[in-house]
Symmetry: C2
Subunit: 349 residues, 2 copies
DNA sequence: CGCGGCACAGAGAGCGCTCTCGGCGCGGAA
DNA sequence: TTCCGCGCCGAGAGCGCTCTCTGTGCCGCG
């Protein structure tokens, strides 16, 4: 039952159409230099036999796979909120399928997984890789680089040190943070605190930098360390209130953190936004709308990020097959692309 | 830069080890019937050259790909809450990598995508497929069936009509719903309402069935239709309160719905759980813990579901390569596997 | 009328691997 | 010693495709 009839080969199609394998191949692919009459006959034969090219045979000779790997460290995507990763995946998927590429998903979970991924990428099973690298000391980027596979990173890699051949897509964490804090100052708030994310992640570090851009003169004590979870947000909020009972605004590094902060504020009898205004980050959808009050936050185009990553990768792959004559890398190759963020005003600030 | 040195072939390894291709192949795979001395020489050569088998060449002859497709309808995974799908993916990924299989992700979004997926599966690029089919009238299952690819479904397919060769994994929606409602009756609640999900999804239908199992005598008016979103939960909750101002418990078809219901209850001045007890479903993690009060809900082992799906598929594939002599399908083949659910008690009921 | 050129089609090699089959050497039985 | 059997290894075909190279027919031009 599982075994279907043997799939028709090029040969079979050729025979049915009364032409040679080569001609069928020409038609099935680009189809240049084949008379219409013949081409039609071939197409009809393809249709009748239900011919589908054998990808294995094809890539054996072309060395192309029309497949790209998406590599993500599993525990991190978990902490970082799953919807985030899923949305990126969606964007990637759309772009890839639009270009007839397959998406091979590699989720890693530990040292041994890294080795496995390295081997897989080096094995030349895919034409390129999209890698999500969040931590400063992530071993993945090095691995991928070692595998010699064209790669686009999701999120600014921590080791963005001089080498400009690393391509990545990120959203404007720093700019978004600035916008959030400016929004708070615009509301007349003067005692503005920040709850960070885990600072070994570039997104968290960049958001902190954005906060500092606007509040360069803020007390160091107004910055409390969180970890992108609501529990961390609660802890940090308690600390902050203990230190600064008079604070009137909080910028949380993400929405989960903000949700935790909101709970503590309510518990301590602070009204939001009247007493304390709160801004989050991510616009993580189930959460940001469900909090009480709904969260003012910074939205990023997550799906767009994914799509852009895929697009950049595919473009790079194209260039490889048809290298332009200009010397070396095209002038001013965009090594990092930063997507804009927007402030979403809800009730919390 | 992108192009690395040409990858070593079996031939190269053979030459270096001073043996034939066949021997290297034997060692690289099962390694039976090769003297240890020779095998060691081969392994050393593999190591030194950094040889990795060319999967395309291999599957060209073996007709195996060590890859399975995961097919999901994109808009639905969105509505159904993204973390859900991501967790399943994680379970699938773990199981697949444990068996050296790759995960090819196919997200569909419309009619034309269905055709594309059908072609892909029929094209014999993968050894099997894991398909998430939520809707009663989902065209995907039919397509997959037509493609003649071994398949395991995620969630009970709507058309579970007699044919017992369809393999699926689902969690015990009906039993979980029963447990939730019994919990409410155990609390002494007597006026228990239910907000359903979209009833063209089997999970929603099964949860409703579970509600009815326990409250067979409940007024029809105590069942309000929702859509798995918090907005739907709000609307349904308003209806219910209008119809039954005296209701003292609500079983919501999922956590998002429950979150919406909670908002309306608060807005109408009902205390939870004192006046009205609320139970959700899913234990969708960011949400269920963030609501006020935190949600009592029914947890399913989502990751386990994914893992089980993959395991069942791989087992089926194994059988194909090494068919057991027993007649036909193994007696009592588990066509549907139902995973247990557990009630998680928090503050809302 | 003959030749070069062009547009198209076919023959055939070869991508890197697996796997069958045959050969070879060695040990034990006759 | 001869022969068979067995364990191990190599030769070689072939998986389904692409792509180059060659061949063929036809046109235009001299």
């Amino acid at each position: 039952m599982t075994d279907t009839a043997p799939r028709p080969t090029l040969e079979a199609v050729a025979e049915r159409a009364g032409v040679s394998r080569a001609t069928v191949s020409r038609v099935v692919n680009g189809a240049h230099g084949v008379r219409d009459a013949l081409a039609d006959r071939v197409r009809r034969a393809v249709e009748e036999l239900g011919y589908v090219p054998n990808q294995a045979a094809r890539s054996l000779v072309t060395r192309r796979h029309d497949a790209v790997a998406v590599v993500a460290a599993e525990p991190e995507t978990r902490v970082f909120a799953d919807p985030y990763f899923a949305q990126q995946l969606r964007g990637i998927s759309k772009e890839l399928t639009a270009h007839d590429n397959q998406l091979v998903l590699l989720l890693t979970e530990g040292r041994e997984d890294h080795a496995r991924v390295g081997r897989y990428l080096a094995g030349g099973h895919v034409d390129g890789a999209l890698v999500f690298s969040l931590h400063l000391d992530d071993p993945l980027p090095g691995l991928v680089r070692g595998a010699g596979v064209p790669t686009v990173f999701g999120g600014r890699p921590g080791w963005d040190d001089g080498r400009d051949d690393v391509v990545y897509v990120d959203s404007d964490n720093r700019g978004g943070a600035r916008a959030a804090v400016r929004h708070l100052t615009g509301l007349g708030r003067t005692r503005i605190a920040h709850i960070t994310g885990p600072l070994d992640q570039t997104s968290a570090a960049d958001r902190l930098a954005g906060f500092r851009d606007v509040r360069a003169d803020a007390d160091a004590g107004l910055v409390a360390r969180g970890d992108f979870t609501s529990g961390g947000g609660e802890r940090a909020m308690r600390e902050l209130l203990d230190r600064y009972p008079d604070l009137d605004a909080v910028f949380a590094a993400n929405d989960l953190t903000a949700a935790g902060a909101l709970r503590v504020l309510r518990e301590r009898g602070r009204r939001v936004p009247d007493d304390v205004a709160v801004v989050g980050f991510d616009d993580m959808l189930p959460v940001a709308e469900e909090t009480d009050p709904p969260l003012t936050t910074v939205r990023q185009d997550i799906e767009g990020m994914g799509r852009l990553m895929a697009r950049l990768l595919l473009r790079g792959l194209d260039r490889d097959t048809a290298p332009e004559p200009t010397t070396g890398v095209s002038a001013g190759a965009p090594s990092g692309v930063i997507l804009p963020t927007t402030l979403v005003r809800r009730a919390s600030a």
